[in-house]
């Protein structure tokens, strides 16, 4: 029971980060129908930026993360600008183009930061809370709280602001959105920047939990993407539910199968997606007549 609860807490913490990654995927996908395979690598850049600023420039952790968000948002804008000619045109080409971008980011990180990574000390130095024999790291609580706050803020932005509403409109029908005077290009760019910013937040938060290295983007990106599919691609609440589900799957697989956890995770993922390709909340664009 104790082991179970301990695993559960670990799963929820990672789930919160996966949810942030998945939300980044989803907001870009909703708005411009682009599946950004470079997203994981943007997370990696965010992790590097945040951890370097925190460890070497001695900035306070929140400031370091904020700067990292700004940096990756800029990268997001660049990716969007370069791939703009393909938007709403050829889906497969865009997909491959973003894979190319991911490769560039990874190679760039190896050039700049070196092939080996570094560990990041936890920014909250207090001892883990002890609740009925279960140790809850304070950093886990911080991660969950920040992820929840980011989710709420994003929800408010999409629902309550004019810009957010415009983005929703572009997501539903970009031609109709143009017709009512929404600047689709700007809306897309903003979606990309927000997505990249979420990636940096996820990267900054996961830094102290993992070893930061240039290849971490690959597996994080795939897991975040898988989480997005789990929940229902393009759906925001789906991203949260999927992230949590994937975090739990991940941490229970790690508990039971140790080194084979990745094998088990992806086999289970493939099986679940086979049964329900549209995820928990569903997307209807798969195979429609």
């Amino acid at each position: 029971m104790q082991v179970f609860l301990q695993t559960l807490i670990g799963g929820v913490t990672f789930g919160a980060v996966y949810a942030l990654v998945a939300m980044g995927f989803s907001i870009v996908y909703r708005t411009m129908g682009l599946v950004n395979f470079a997203h994981g690598n943007v997370v990696m850049i965010g992790a590097y930026a945040a951890s370097n600023l925190y460890m070497f420039a001695k900035l306070p952790f929140p400031v370091a993360v904020a700067v990292a968000i700004a940096v990756t948002a800029l990268i997001g804008l660049v990716i969007e600008r370069v791939l703009r000619p393909l938007e709403n045109k050829d889906f497969d080409l865009m997909l491959i183009g973003t894979i190319g971008f991911g490769t560039v980011l990874e190679a760039g990180a190896i050039r700049v930061f070196g092939a080996t990574g570094h560990a990041v000390p936890s920014p909250v130095a207090t001892a883990p809370l002890d609740v009925a024999g279960i140790k809850i790291p304070t950093y886990s609580l911080l991660v969950i709280a920040v992820a929840a706050a980011a989710t709420v803020l994003l929800g408010l932005f999409l629902q309550r602001t004019k810009r957010g509403a415009a983005m929703q409109a572009v997501a539903m029908d970009h031609e109709a959105a143009t017709a009512v005077g929404i600047h689709v290009g700007r809306s897309n760019a903003m979606a990309f920047a927000i997505g990249a910013g979420l990636a940096a937040l996820a990267g900054g938060l996961i830094g102290p939990m993992l070893y930061v290295n240039p290849t971490m983007g690959g597996s994080l990106g795939i897991k975040g993407f898988a989480a997005a599919i789990f929940g229902g691609f393009g759906s925001m609440r789906g991203a949260i539910a999927g992230g949590m589900a994937f975090g739990l799957l991940d941490s229970f697989a790690a508990g039971h199968f140790q080194e084979y956890s990745e094998l088990v995770t992806f086999l289970v993922f493939a099986a679940i997606v086979m049964v329900r390709p549209t995820g928990i909340f569903g997307e209807t664009t798969v195979n429609r007549a």
Binding site: A107, F233, V273, M274
Partner: protein, 646 residues
Amino acid sequence: MKRLILLIAAAVAAWLLPYGLGGYAIHVVDVAIIFAVLGIGLGLAMGVAGQINLAQIAFFGVGAYAVAILTTRAGLGFWTAAALALLAAVLVGLLVGLPALRMQSHYLGIVTLGLALAFVNWITNATVAGRAEGISDIPVPPLFGVDLASEYLFYYVELVVFALALAFALFLTHSPLGRRLRAMRDDDLAAGALGAEIPLLRMTAFVLSGLYGGIAGVLYAGLIRFVAPETFSIANMFLLLAMVIIGGRRSILGCVVGAVALSLVREALLDVSAYAQLGYGSVVVLVVVFAPTGLAGLPARLRRRRAAGARAALGSFQPYDRVHDREDGRTDGQARDRVGADAVADAGVGSGADLLEVDGVTMRFKGLTALDQVSLTITAGEIRGVVGPNGSGKTTLFNVVSGFYTPTSGRVLFRGREVTGAAPYRLSLLGVARTFQNLRLFGDLTVRENILVGLDRTRTRWVWRYLALPWSVLGFERVLRVRADELIDRFGLRDFADAAPRALPYGIQRRIEMARAMAMTPALLLLDEPAAGLNGEEVRQLAAIVRSIRDSGVTVVVIEHNMGLVMSLCDRVTVLSGGKVIADGAPADVAVQPDVVAAYLGDSMSAPSRTAAEPADEPAPESAAGAATESATESATDSAAEEAAR
């Protein structure tokens, strides 16, 4: 002849190549050839069949690791192990391909990528696979006393295997099967409606890429005689992807060129590998944006820029032979004496008999009822019109009849056989052909190829011939081509036969789609708004074509908003409104029924002309609450439907 000379020159050059290369250079070439075989496999799955397969590197790994494990752990001979390894790679291909039955594009990409990661995870941790250190001392493959430990001699083994693999891939892409795969890539729904068994074709694509991955793996095991996890990493998967994209994924030769070129570049930049990665990542982005067809597509792009003259014209339609002269009684569709019976009897149904019966069909989408207890009977030899306001369920009806939707309740009978919910390809092979409201031509196939896809009536299980009797496939292809030319001439498309349909004017595209449907030699032809977007003259030609098609013994059902055309063309008209049949009878009788006038013309009495506005892909359902006759109500229900679909 010119091709033969080129081929011989290439063969001689390949034969002589090792004489000019040093020991390390030949190693590089050997590795490049292995990547070329892998690239062909990925090109077949992704470029030809449109399946985003990011597990190709794992198929490669399965082949190599199977040889390694079977030779070192189980003590099998190299070639026995190689045969089993191929089998294993094909099986893994089949398993990895299973998700393709349920999902496509990015979903498929991420699932296959996840499975590739799972494979890497397994080989890095399993003791039998030698964990992170891998497996060394794989035996040298024996070959009649030839010492294959020499990389020079191994080159010739690779060359022969590669030539065979390339020849088979080229043969496949230019055969009817390859054409169906490409049709599926461009538009899987239309391909299904034209008789292609989509699930089997997708599995075929994965089996092929598994096979090529396995071949490459066996060669790798024989050449390097050492396997370790990092060779099969995701980074190398992306390198392979870059090869195929840069070379041109839609062309097998392009994939080979890309693979060889990038292998050599990678070797040249080995000391600065991070820069190499930076370089090919950037090149992939640039290629995708500026030259999406890759190196292979460049000659065609240049040619197109130069040759832009020579005006082509749509020829006139040459009517079909009438099956028998009809003893005309044109005034009353019902009472007409149908002497054309015998011809239709060929198709198993006498004229005047029921060809299609729709019995109490209801179709619901998440609470929206698109069709509500629709029943109608189509008699063999008639032209039936289906009319109704936008969103009244006409296209949904077609989608049910042609197998795209399985109705919530009710039955569909074709020639007295129940076909409710049968797959589109099955209906197509039974003799139901259809066109689409928004034109679903295969954009990257030529007009001739579009028609050839329709002419191919074989089942996919026919594919064993591709391995066993390749010459019979070539003979079959020749027959198809002759018949395609006949059809092209009949529909006056001679000037456009080799053009890509997307570049052609709308009216011509409509005619191509009609020709493609008729290529299926159907018994029942469903036309979804064939006159939409046509000018007056084109509509007149259309009417003549449809009449001729009917006179050749084909029953026609036509959805149309052009009331003039419906009144003059159709023997009988069925009116749908709000998913219900509200009238059925001779055009003149139906047009004056008060219900029809109210539902169809609304209060304004102005004929609706929003023909092109109705999106065909939407199920076009509307609430069961009632017929939306005014456009305001209609767009409201449309968006409600869309909302629900989201």
